[in-house]
Amino acid sequence: MAKRIDVSGLTAFYGSHKAIEDISMTVEPRSVTAFIGPSGCGKSTFLRTLNRMHEVTPGGRVEGKVLLDDEDLYGAGIDPVSVRREVGMVFQRPNPFPTMSIFDNVAAGLRLNGNYKKSELNDIVEKSLKGANLWNEVKDRLNKPGSGLSGGQQQRLCIARAIAVEPDVLLMDEPCSALDPISTLAIEDLIGELKERFTIVIVTHNMQQAARVSDRTAFFNLAAVGQPGRLIEIDDTERIFSNPSVQATEDYISGRFG
């Protein structure tokens, strides 16, 4: 449960294009780390390298090391499928499986990975939906299709689906960018609860959100369009937003560019 991530010298490519270059950082267990930075600076790409989703994109390739509690995710003999079971992901747009009911959506990760008894599944689904603060809203219609929920509910359904497989780390790629402020608040509260059990990494364009939910913040930037994105600095969120050590971070946060 809740493992530490140690990244060193990570560079990611799309074909011959270098998207991010030489990134090193440590993500502490049971904490929320936020990634901020302008569009196209490689935040999402970097996030996707943390559970080997980057290589799903045609031409996606990674150099460097990502240690999950001392085990290199890119080491020889590592099965990307097992990696993704330990490092879950929530996407920008809610994407429940359209052919499945709410129950089946939450149970999908377990069901597609092995055999579970119905009673076990019932317990896990209830626990996960409660964990995602969705249980009270959907407990009477678990057999209805997941796509009938509102956007915010769908996103919480996706979070429930991700935590149902009990990952060690939860990656969130702008989980609130398609949601209204009330749903956003619900998910931010949820992130606060989930960090008791998981290591959470969240990409966000909303700097207030980064300041509200995260313990540590990493600022990414790129020198120019077409250049690879780099990690400028990572520090405690309070320091980043009050007294960052790099001028570019301060410029970005205070709205002087980006």
Partner: protein
């Protein structure tokens, strides 16, 4: 009171003169009457010519009236609309008339006896007999062809969409495109050449093989399109849960697109159900019931229709049987289509609350 009157008279840039809603109908009726009148006067006796003249008059009349009252832009808009309607009618008229003629001529001898008896010893020129042997033949040949063609087609499409990269995928796509253009008689000749090498007599399964060749590219194409419609986000969501790729395809991608894939397969089945040429070469035709597709000549519906027309020497009984068999074939294809639509609707991703 006076200001209101002034406001009314003031020219509005947003409001313009417009024709009443019944105008198109009146113009259509007028051009129909005029078209028939002109045709009668000119001594044209083909109803097709009457219809074409009326259609041209309708389009021209619409433009004239609209240009007069509403202005040129609206007139162009109305002409485009009426062209669409004329094109629609041109497309529908042959279809409706085909179904009408087939039904009128086909119901004469179509009864339970006709559907449950073979031709047997009934000569092609005599009345009586039926199409049971042809229905059996068609069902077996098309069924076997589907069993071969549909899985190969669907699996090829899955390879192309989910795995295919580089040269092999390009080559497969290219050959699928080439196969789409193969005339059915060529597919028949291909199997026939194999049969001649192994010195075999005509049998039903040989026809199935040729039909499967014809069916495969259609299935590949339609399945490919359906799989491409599945959003990438769903694949990523599944992969991110730690589901292996093959299970993602099996449990997420295919269920999401199964409705469209089924429709595609059914359309391919409908296409091969009407093929005559390869069946003529490979299955040969047989007036007796042969339930075994792996040995001996069989009949099939399209082949039966062809042979009733060709061998009847102008006998009315054979013509009636051919029409009735045509009606059966159309009904068969239509039922398949309805089944496909039913499955598509039943399996479609649910959106309701």
């Amino acid at each position: 009171m006076s200001t209101a009157a002034v406001t009314d008279k003031r020219h509005s840039t947003l409001r313009a003169a417009s024709l009443p809603r019944w105008t198109p109908w009146v113009i259509a009726a007028g051009s129909l009457v005029l078209g028939i009148g002109i045709s009668m006067a000119a001594g044209l006796d083909s109803q097709v010519q009457w219809g074409l003249i009326a259609a041209v008059l309708f389009v021209l009349g619409t433009f004239g009236v609209a240009a007069r009252v509403e202005g040129r832009r609206q007139a162009k808009d109305r002409v485009a609309t009426s062209l669409v309607w004329v094109a629609f009618l041109l497309a529908v008229v042959p279809l409706v008339s085909l179904i009408w003629v087939t039904v009128v001529r086909g119901v004469k001898v179509l009864d339970v006896y006709f559907l449950t008896h073979s031709m047997g010893v009934v000569a092609d020129t005599e009345p009586g007999g039926g199409i049971y042997h042809a229905i059996i033949g068609s069902l077996e040949q098309v069924g076997l062809a589907t069993l071969i063609g549909a899985p190969i087609g669907v699996l090829t499409a899955i390879y192309l969409v989910e795995y295919g990269r580089g040269r092999l995928a390009k080559a497969v796509t290219f050959f699928v495109d080439v196969m789409t253009g193969i005339p059915s008689i060529v597919a028949g000749l291909f199997i026939l050449s194999l049969m001649l090498i192994f010195e075999m007599q005509p049998f039903g399964f040989a026809g199935s093989l040729a039909l499967a060749i014809l069916m495969m590219p259609v299935v590949v194409r339609s399945t490919e399109e359906m799989l491409k419609l599945v959003p990438n986000e769903l694949r990523e969501a599944s992969l991110a849960l730690g589901v292996p790729k093959w299970r993602t395809i099996l449990k997420v991608v295919l269920p999401t697109s199964v409705g469209g894939i089924t429709t595609g397969i059914m359309l391919a089945v409908a296409r091969i159900a009407g093929e005559t040429a390869p069946v003529l070469l490979l299955v040969f035709g047989n007036p007796f019931i042969n339930n075994n597709p792996f040995e001996g000549a069989q009949a099939s519906l399209p082949l039966y229709i062809y042979q009733q027309f060709a061998n009847s020497a102008g006998s009315g009984a054979a013509f009636d049987r051919a029409w009735a068999a045509s009606l059966t074939l159309i009904a068969f294809v239509m039922i398949l289509n309805l089944v496909a639509r039913g499955i598509a609707r039943w399996k479609a991703p649910k959106t309701g609350r």
